[in-house]
């Protein structure tokens, strides 16, 4: 008699468990779908903040960047992807000679997206873009100049030694890994 009782109990427990399983899969059925339909959602596609598509140098509305041509990124780059071409220009106000960025050359073809340039930049002059469609037909087009034509360094970007220590510990848009 006891085994019969156990059989019935097991049967109903089994049925309850099966219904629970069905309920869970039905919840999945009704959930919003995760599939990204890529060419159609090109305009609305969302990427992760930390996604590294290519290196960019943000410019402000006055066509100014923050790069002081110190060359730390070039030294830190393990692949020789970055070339900072600079020249010494005399400041008309103070009369002191100063390094000025001519060309910031970035070779997307050899970049391994290791993020060392961005983390080592003392002025947050470079960042990663989310623009992932980087396929080209010619390898030469992977060489990009990151500073815009006619741009110059932002005035008052040279920090005092006090704030510099602060900047190094803070993260750049959450991109530090």
């Amino acid at each position: 008699m006891k085994s019969f009782y156990l059989y019935i109990k097991e049967l109903f427990e089994g049925i309850c468990n099966l219904i629970l399983g069905l309920k869970i899969s039905m919840m999945n059925f009704l959930r919003p779908k995760v599939t990204e339909q890529y060419p159609e959602n090109r305009k609305t596609a969302q990427h992760f903040d930390r996604f590294r598509a290519r290196l960019v140098m943000p410019h402000n509305e006055k066509n100014e960047h923050k790069c002081i041509a110190c060359g730390i990124c070039e030294m830190n780059c393990p692949n020789g992807t970055i070339q900072v071409l600079s020249s010494m220009v005399e400041d008309p106000e103070t009369g002191r000679k100063k390094k000025v960025l001519d060309k910031y050359i970035y070779d997307l073809g050899t970049c391994t997206f290791c993020n060392m340039c961005v983390t080592s930049c003392p002025h947050k002059a470079i960042a990663w873009s989310q623009d992932f469609e980087q396929a080209v037909f010619d390898r030469d087009r992977l060489y990009c100049q990151l500073n815009a034509e006619g741009s110059h360094v932002e005035s008052k970007t040279i920090p005092t030694p006090k704030t510099e220590g602060k900047q190094n510990t803070s993260t750049v848009n959450g991109q530090e890994s």
């Binding site: 399983g21 899969s25 999945n28 059925f29 919003p32 599939t35």
Partner: protein, 356 residues
């Protein structure tokens, strides 16, 4: 309700009286017409079901399924069909060539024969046997012969294991499938499919038969699902252990036959469950609500039939994408220790309830 026998009688009249053909030629032409209609329905139902399966499977896994070929991926199945037709049939060394090529036809024939007796709508039934239920049960399980032949003739141990598992599964589950259909037979008092549908004209058996009919319906769905070798009962294929089970060695259209037969068997199980418990093509009639019944009659009978089939098929897909595969001992335990006793008690109870 539109009676489709008007159309069939008109064709018969056209051939016999208008054109004055003798009996032999009239029948020959009608056989060909019925055969073509059933084969077309067979292929179309398989295509629609393959699309539905892939789409619903995607939805259960939080994907959206095929969406590239045509609007919503509607032409994906057609593209796959054309692909499978152009593929090579690879002959297997040291296989039993004759049986190897014959096995897919057994599987196909088993399911096509069932189509002959299914009532798709009022007047849309090729043959109306007075033992329709027995005929359908007998013929729809013929497919396992094809599966056993495929496993044997492939000369491949995985195929053979898959085929033997399929055989064990079918022999077990045929019992509860047949016995649960007997509940509907007891309620209707006949084995003729058209009369079973007619007996549900006031209310479908699933509502009229109370708990007995409901239990029988659920058990038939489980057993029928097991017979189609799908879902949690797919040990005959079990791709993680047996590569593809009995159809490992098949390619091209011979594999296509198994693929199509799997989906039409799914439809056949749903169609039998619909006819026996959900009223077949009979619209929903509730006694006492005459206006409601009259409105329901305006919906064509094939739409009722295929709509109810779609419901049953959705249940099967839901189960398939919810549970993991059973082991062979669990499978047989489920049948012999759970489903069989419940079906027998249920059948005895319904017999007592009807006679009283």
């Amino acid at each position: 309700m539109f009676d489709f026998s008007v159309i069939t009688c008109w064709i018969d009249n056209l051939l016999r009286v208008e054109w004055g053909l003798p009996d032999f030629w009239t029948l020959a032409i009608e056989f060909v017409l019925v055969g073509v209609a059933l084969l077309t329905a067979y292929a179309l139902i398989a295509l629609v079901l393959i699309y539905a399966e892939r789409k619903i499977c995607g939805f259960f896994q939080c994907r959206i399924g095929p969406n590239r070929v045509g609007k919503w991926g509607l032409l994906q199945v057609v593209a796959d069909m054309i692909k499978i037709l152009t593929k090579e049939i690879i002959p297997i060394k040291r296989s039993d060539k004759f049986l190897f090529l014959m096995a897919p036809f057994f599987v196909i024939i088993g399911s096509i024969l069932t189509f002959a007796a299914l009532p798709f709508g009022l007047g849309l039934q090729a043959i109306d046997f007075n033992i329709g239920v027995v005929y359908i049960l007998a013929v729809s399980s013929l497919g396992v012969i094809g599966i056993l032949l495929a496993g044997w003739s492939s000369n491949n141990k995985y195929s053979l294991i898959g085929a033997i598992r399929s055989g064990a599964q079918l022999v077990s589950y045929e019992l509860s499938a047949g016995l649960s259909l007997m509940v509907a037979v007891v309620l209707a008092g006949t084995m003729q499919l058209s009369e079973i549908v007619e007996a549900q004209s006031d209310l479908w058996f699933i509502f009229k038969g109370g708990i007995f009919a409901f239990v029988a319906f659920v058990i038939y769905l489980i057993a029928g699902h097991a017979e189609t070798n799908r879902g949690p009962f797919d040990l005959a294929e079990a791709e993680s252990e047996l590569t593809a089970g009995y159809h490992t060695e098949y390619s091209g259209i011979t594999f296509g036959f198994y693929y199509v037969a799997e989906y039409t068997n799914l439809f056949i199980v749903a169609a039998i469950a619909t006819t026996m418990f959900l009223g077949g093509w009979m619209p929903l009639h509730i006694p006492g609500f005459d206006a409601f019944n009259a409105v329901m009659d305006y919906i064509p009978t094939p739409i009722w039939f295929f709509g109810k089939c779609a419901f049953c098929i959705f249940m099967a897909l839901w189960v398939r994408w919810s549970y993991p595969r059973l082991r062979i001992d669990q499978l047989l335990k489920l049948e012999w220790k759970v489903l069989m006793p419940i079906t027998l008690v249920n059948l005895a109870a319904v017999a007592v309830a009807v006679t009283m």
